[in-house]
């Protein structure tokens, strides 16, 4: 076994390809081109935005459970504020939490480290990407405070409501919202190009296509998917912005435009987008599960092909969001079939995970708990998607809380559970200290149990006919009687939010801790574990850039003393 690769390294200052040693605070934290620093910038911003988005949910859930109350910490919620809160909650959670956390933060951190590169191929474009993202985040927050208030036309922003200030009454808020979203796309576009080129051109010597860890595959496939789907949405967004500000009539039927056009452009992007965030989360889960099952990943290639198949299929399902928008019923049939087809690759991914677990020597660490709960929770999301994908049942369920619960059962495992899985797993590498396992487990159970109590009642409410986007259900006698379900959901949300304090406490303790994390605390095979925690500038000490001798999942290989076999060890 090679000694050089596992020997601890003292001097990390020798290798400094990027110049500046005594950089100032600003230079270090805001002007860095180091992919690890940019990853942290994305990570902290997305955590901050998650807190904002979560508190928004608290406010509007209080209004739904106890209509008309003075929400502690906020006050009375007016109908306009309610709309702005739900709209911006959704937008923030998808565009400023899920995307930056799963793709930008972990993509930036992990891609170079997992493929043995010293940085991204375009470091300055990378920095620009974060700066644009930061501006977009500031804009979306600012849009809540402009005259007329934040945009309230839902995260899908359907015209004519979104197109005409006379209808939505938030002329300024709506335009700023749109510009912020568009800027955020530009940021990810730059990031995505970087990811793809880096993977193609900067792999360590010896790393062949099937030696690439699944996480990297997934983030890069997601980036390609994003880049191919976002163009039409940007086109649509420019048209919407023109309608809002230059008084054009692209979406105005009275002037020859077509409001349904936006729905097509939006969902042509919107559905692939859900896979854009799903794939990275699946990647984390797979890497974590293989590590803690101490077993070779079952069906590595199947996994990669399946992800590609999912990505391709996801371009042909978008109209399942429009079954009641007046589309041709024959077209609805086609989209029902494609939608149901896409559950095949998703099921395959889950089977691969289960087969990997089968017969493994499973260790229930905190990251592993998160990874396993991803599988269980996402399963419910996927299964309920089938009811929505069948156009017959969707005619009843569309725009009810059933839809809302469905996509929370997909997005929550992706963004929150997947996000925590990655965070707890790679935290030692990123920050150089360990998180506390006991606190981690308390936080885990305190998050996933309340989650079920929030959203299972919402499935029931949706089946009972409760429409989304209603400010006060007491105004509807046939819905009023289901109030206890709404109260349950809101109380569970509060419990979940309180348990997040455990996470922040754990984080705070570990960041201040003096105890250094070892190089490879989980005894994993992939390259990021072969460099000190945290990795030095340039990722590996000079002259120790890794070479790759085998695939990433060689756990418990017979006839070896250890049950793992790092990719960079010559046999």
């Amino acid at each position: 076994m090679a000694q050089a690769t596992t020997a601890p390294v003292q001097d990390t200052h020798g290798h400094d390809t990027h110049g500046h040693h005594d950089e100032g605070w600003f230079k270090k934290y805001f002007w860095s081109t180091d992919h690890k620093m940019i990853a942290k910038q994305y990570l902290w911003t997305s955590i901050f935005m998650a807190v904002v988005g979560g508190l928004m949910a608290y406010v509007f859930r209080m209004q739904l459970a106890f209509p008309g109350i003075e929400v502690p910490g906020f006050g009375l919620v007016s109908p306009g504020e309610y709309n702005a809160l739900i709209t911006n909650h959704g937008s923030i959670m998808i565009f400023w939490v899920a995307m930056p956390m799963l793709i930008a933060a972990w993509g930036n951190f992990l891609i170079p480290l997992m493929i043995g590169a010293d940085d991204m191929v375009f470091p300055r474009i990378n920095r620009l990407s974060f700066q644009i993202f930061l501006i977009s985040a500031i804009l979306i927050l600012a849009s809540l405070f402009v005259q007329g208030g934040g945009f309230g036309g839902a995260w899908t922003s359907y015209p004519p409501l979104s197109a005409n200030p006379e209808y939505n009454l938030t002329g300024l808020g709506a335009s700023i919202w749109l510009i912020a979203v568009a800027l955020e796309f530009v940021a990810f576009l730059l990031g995505g190009i970087n990811f793809i080129v880096t993977l193609m051109n900067s792999r360590a010597p010896g790393m062949k296509a099937y030696d690439i860890p699944v996480t990297v595959w997934m983030i890069v496939i997601a980036s390609i998917l994003f880049m191919l789907s976002v163009g039409p949405l940007i086109a649509g967004a420019i048209m919407l912005l023109f309608d809002q500000t230059l008084n054009t009539g692209f979406y105005d039927p009275a002037r020859g435009g077509d409001p349904i056009l936006w729905q097509h452009l939006f969902w042509f992007f919107g559905h692939p987008e859900v896979y854009v965030v799903l794939l990275p989360a699946i990647g984390f889960v797979i890497d974590i599960i293989a590590t803690f099952a101490r077993k070779k990943l079952f069906g590595y290639k199947i996994m990669v092909y399946t992800a590609v198949a999912t990505a391709v299929l996801s371009f042909f399902v978008w109209a399942h969001h429009q079954f009641i928008a007046g589309i041709d019923p024959r077209m609805a049939n086609v989209f029902t079939v494609t939608t149901l087809l896409i559950s095949v690759p998703i099921a395959e991914l889950l089977f691969v995970i289960i087969a990997t677990l089968y017969g493994g020597s499973i260790k229930f660490t905190t990251p592993m708990l998160w990874a396993l709960s991803f599988v269980a929770t996402f399963l419910i999301g996927g299964v309920t998607g089938i009811f929505l994908g069948a156009s017959g049942s969707d005619i009843y369920l569309h725009d009810t809380y059933f839809v809302l619960a469905h996509f929370h059962y997909t997005f929550f495992p992706i963004a929150i559970i997947g996000g925590f899985a990655a965070f707890t797993y790679w935290f030692p590498k990123m920050f150089g200290t360990m998180l506390d396992e006991t606190l981690g487990k308390i936080h885990f159970w305190g998050t996933v149990i309340p989650f079920q109590f929030i959203f299972i009642p919402l499935f029931a409410l949706g089946l009972g006919g409760q429409h989304r986007r209603i400010y006060n259900f007491q105004n509807f006698p046939e819905l009023a009687s289901m109030q206890p379900l709404r109260v349950t959901a809101t109380l569970a949300l509060i419990v979940m939010i309180l348990f997040q304090l455990v996470f922040f406490w754990n984080l705070f303790r570990s960041l201040r801790s003096k105890e250094k994390a070892p190089m490879n605390p989980w005894k994993a095979n992939t390259l990021e574990w072969t460099t000190p925690s945290p990795p030095p500038h340039g990722n590996w000490p000079p002259d120790q850039m890794p070479k790759v001798y085998r695939g990433p999942y060689e756990y418990s290989v017979p006839d070896r003393d250890t049950d793992y076999w790092p990719q960079n060890e010559p046999s």
Binding site: F122, G231, P232, I234, N247
Partner: protein
């Protein structure tokens, strides 16, 4: 472990530094062009859908001017020739940077001609009452052709930058190819827009 696993690990030869398929910049530009192509695909499909629903199938709508199809054909030719000349410049560049300076400049000049011609055309059309607000016809015209024009101006700026580097004999092969690719995107996109917006 009870499920003893067959080791599927094969011995491999000592790893060597791999060849790059394409230089970083070129690859990045190709990816960027894919996204851009999808952006224009979005514009065009929106245009086709709205056009197909026009009241009484009247296109251009009642009272709106006809687009200057013939003049623009000349302009289209100018743009295509610009692309061709840049191709010559690339060939010349392979031999010596000096020889590429002139064709490169001609290519830029033709590009500038194209953009200027478009500007004149817009001024005329605005005078004839075709505006963003006058109809979806006008709105799509300025949207799509304007989006192309912005790309043309951006690409020309890149070409001018590259030309100065070229003159100082400071332009690398992959930087040349990268700006050339972007200009080809602008050049080759245009006939499609011309066909869809002016002719069809």
């Amino acid at each position: 472990m009870e499920h003893a696993l067959e080791s599927t690990v094969q011995e491999r030869p000592e790893p060597r530094e791999g060849e790059k398929l394409l230089p970083d910049g070129v690859l990045g530009m190709i990816l960027f062009i894919f996204t851009e192509a999808m952006l224009f695909a979005g514009f065009i499909s929106a245009f086709v859908i709205v056009k197909s629903q026009a009241a009484g199938q009247m296109w251009p709508p009642f009272g709106q001017p006809r687009l200057p199809v013939e003049e623009t054909a000349v302009n289209t030719a100018a743009l295509l020739v610009s692309g061709l000349v840049l191709g010559f410049a690339q060939f010349a560049f392979r031999r010596s940077a000096r020889q590429a300076v002139l064709p490169f400049a001609v290519s830029i000049f033709l590009g500038l001609f194209f953009v200027g011609f478009q500007g004149v055309e817009w001024a005329q059309l605005l005078g004839q009452g075709l505006t963003l607000q006058s109809s979806t016809y006008g709105a799509f015209f300025y949207l799509i052709v304007g989006a192309h024009a912005i790309h043309a101006v951006g690409a020309l700026a890149a070409l001018v930058w590259a030309w100065f580097r070229l003159r100082d004999d400071d332009l690398g092969q992959s930087a040349f190819t990268t700006v050339q690719l972007f200009w080809y995107f602008v050049v080759l996109l245009w006939p499609i827009l011309y066909w869809k917006v002016y002719l069809a």
